[in-house]
Symmetry: C2
Subunit: 334 residues, 2 copies
C-alpha cells in the first residue's frame, strides 16, 4: 500500500481494497484457515460442544495505556468464551474504517489484534472491511465473532447460584475505565495507570474443573456492580459486597473521587467475577493467586436470600443499596 491514509476507494471491492486486505489484514492475520478469496471458509477440527459469541469494539482513544482497540477486541471475545467455559478457536473480524484513518495506525492495531489472537490460540477464519466517509465513523470499529469449544467440566450457569454462595474477583476493578478516561485528557488529569485489558483464559481455565464453581463473568461495561445486578435479577437473591474486600487501586479511587464516579461501575477488560460454594471459592482463590493475573484475587461478597438487589456493606458496618446504572458516565469505553 502506497497511501498514508485510508481512502474511500479502499472499500470499493477493487484494486485498493485488494491491496488493503492482502498487504495489511492478511499479512498480519494469515493462517491456514483464512482464505481471503473465498466467500465463506471451512472451519477444520471443530468438534464437541460449540459455543459462539460476538462483540463490537468502539473504544476511544483507539490506543490507550496498556492496550489498544486491536488487543482489546481479542481479549473481549476470548474472555466471553472463557467465562462460559470455552477455549476460543476461530474469529471472524468485521472492520468498519473511517476515511482518513492513518494506515500506520491501522497497521499497528491489526498487528496487535493478530498477536493477541495468536497468544490465545485463535485463528481468524473470515474477515470483511468497509470504509465509511470521514465524519461517519470513529477511526476504526471492530466487530468480532468468536467460535469456541467448551472445555469446562462444570456447569457454568447463573441459574445454579444459591444463597450461601460467595463472590470472588480476580483482581482490582476499574483500571480499564480510568486509564481510558485519563487517555482522553479531557479532565486535565494524567497518571501511570494501565488498562487491565488482558486474556482471562488462564484464570478461567484454572477453575473449569471445579464442580462448586457456578458462574463466571468478565465485568466489562457497567463493571462489577452491573454483573452483580445481573446475578440479582436472574436469581432473585441479594448480592452483598464487602466494600473493604473489593480490590481497587489507589489511583482509581483518587480519580473516581475527583470526578464523582463509582469504581464498581467502571469497565474492567481483564478480570473475572466468579460465584462458587464457600469450599470451591477457597480453591478458586488459591489457584488464581498462584497465577500472575490473579495475585490480587479476593473473596468480595456473598449471595443472600431476600430481595433481588445489590448491597454494599461498608467498612464501618453500614449497608448501602447500589442502584442499577442509568446514565452513561463513560461512552466508548470498549
Amino acid at each position: 500500500m502506497n497511501e498514508e491514509r485510508i481512502l474511500l476507494a479502499h472499500g470499493n471491492g477493487g484494486r485498493f481494497m485488494r491491496e488493503l486486505i492482502g498487504e495489511l489484514f492478511a499479512r498480519h492475520l494469515g493462517n491456514p484457515a483464512l482464505d481471503t478469496d473465498a466467500d465463506a471458509v471451512h472451519l477444520p477440527d471443530l468438534a464437541g460442544d460449540i459455543l459462539v459469541t460476538t462483540d463490537g469494539f468502539t473504544v476511544q482513544p483507539i490506543e490507550f495505556p496498556g492496550g489498544n482497540l486491536g488487543s482489546l477486541a481479542v481479549h473481549g471475545v476470548v474472555n466471553d468464551l472463557a467465562v462460559a467455559g470455552a477455549q476460543a478457536r476461530y474469529f471472524t473480524l468485521s472492520a468498519i474504517i473511517e476515511e482518513g484513518l492513518e494506515v500506520a495506525l491501522l497497521d499497528r492495531l491489526i498487528a496487535s489484534f493478530a498477536a493477541a489472537a495468536r497468544e490465545n490460540g485463535v485463528a481468524v477464519a473470515a474477515g470483511d472491511t468497509k470504509v465509511v466517509r470521514h465524519g461517519e465513523g470513529g477511526g476504526l470499529y471492530l466487530s468480532v465473532a468468536g467460535i469456541g469449544v467448551r472445555e469446562a467440566t462444570t456447569d457454568l450457569s447463573m441459574k445454579r447460584i444459591a444463597p450461601g454462595d460467595v463472590v470472588l474477583v480476580s483482581g482490582p476493578v476499574g483500571d480499564h475505565g480510568v486509564s481510558v478516561m485519563l487517555a482522553r485528557e479531557q479532565f486535565g488529569l494524567s497518571g501511570g495507570l494501565l488498562s487491565d485489558s488482558a486474556s482471562v483464559l488462564p484464570l478461567a481455565r484454572a477453575a473449569w474443573d471445579l464442580p462448586g464453581l457456578k458462574f463466571m463473568r468478565d465485568p466489562t461495561r457497567g463493571g462489577l456492580a452491573t454483573v452483580c445486578h445481573e446475578i440479582a435479577h436472574a436469581t432473585g437473591c441479594a448480592v452483598v459486597l464487602d466494600q473493604g474486600a473489593v480490590p481497587v487501586r489507589g489511583e482509581v479511587v483518587a480519580v473516581c473521587e475527583m470526578l464523582g464516579y463509582d469504581p464498581y461501575f467502571l469497565a474492567c477488560e481483564g478480570r473475572v467475577v466468579a460465584v462458587a460454594t464457600p469450599a470451591a471459592a477457597a480453591e478458586v482463590l488459591a489457584r488464581w493467586r498462584a497465577l500472575p493475573a490473579g495475585a490480587e484475587a479476593a473473596v468480595i461478597g456473598r449471595i443472600d436470600a431476600g430481595a433481588a438487589r445489590l448491597i454494599l456493606e461498608t467498612e464501618l458496618g453500614g449497608r448501602r443499596v447500589l442502584e442499577e446504572l442509568e446514565d452513561d458516565p463513560l461512552p466508548r469505553i470498549c
Copy 2:
C-alpha cells in the same frame, strides 16, 4: 422503551441497555438458541462441514426502495454461505448504533432483519450493541457473522475453472447500486427501480449437485466486473463477456449513461455469477429460469486461455479490456 431516540445510556450496560436488548432486539430476534443473559451460547445441532463468513453493512440511506439495512445484512451473509455451498444456520449480530437514531427506525430495521433471517432458516445465536456519539456513526452499522453447514455435493472453487468454461448470471446487474444511488436523491433523479436485495439460497441450492458447476459468487461491491477480475487473477485466464448477453435493465443503463457509471461495476445484492462447463451451464440455466428469481438468467461469457484480464465483446464485434476498479463511484452501497 419509553425513549424516541437512542441515548448514549442505551450502550452503558445498565437499565437502558437491558431494555433496548430485551424490548427491541430480543423481541424480534428471540429463538431457542439466543440467550441474552449469557456471555457465549451453545450452538445445537451443528454437525458436518461447518463454514463461516462475516460481513459489515453500512448502506446509506438505511432504507431504500426494495430493502433496508436489516434485510440487506441477512441476504449478504446468507448469500456468501449459499454461493460457497452452505445453508446458513446461525448468525451473530453486532450493532453499532449512533446516538440520536430514531427508535422506531431501529425497530423497523431489526424487525426486517428478523423476518429475513426466519425466511432463510437462520437463528441469531448471539448479539452485541454499542452506542457511539452523534457524529461518530452512520445511524446504524451491522456486522454479521454467519455459520453454516455445507450441503453442496460439488466442489465449488475458483481453482477448478478452466478455459472453455462458460459464465452465467442469474438476473440483471446493477439494480441495487442504482436504486440506492437514486434513494440518496443527490442527483435530482428518481425512478421506480427496486434493489435486487434478496436471498440467492434457492438459486444456489438448485445447482449444488451439479459436478460441472465449478464456482459461484454473488457480485456485490465492485459488481460483475470485479467478480470477473477475481476469476482472472485466480486462474490466469481471460474472462470474456458478451455485452449483448449481460442482462441490464433500461433504467440502469439510462442512469449509468447520465452519470458516467458502468453497470458492470455496480453492486448487486441478490444475483449469482456462476462458472460451469458448457453442459452444466445449460442445466444451471434451465434450473434457474424455472425459479422466479432466475427468470432473466443468462449465459454471458466464457473463460479463454491467455492473459488474465476481463474483455468485453461488444455487439458490433469490438473487444474492450475492462480495467480493475480504482476510485470508488459509490461508497456505502452495502
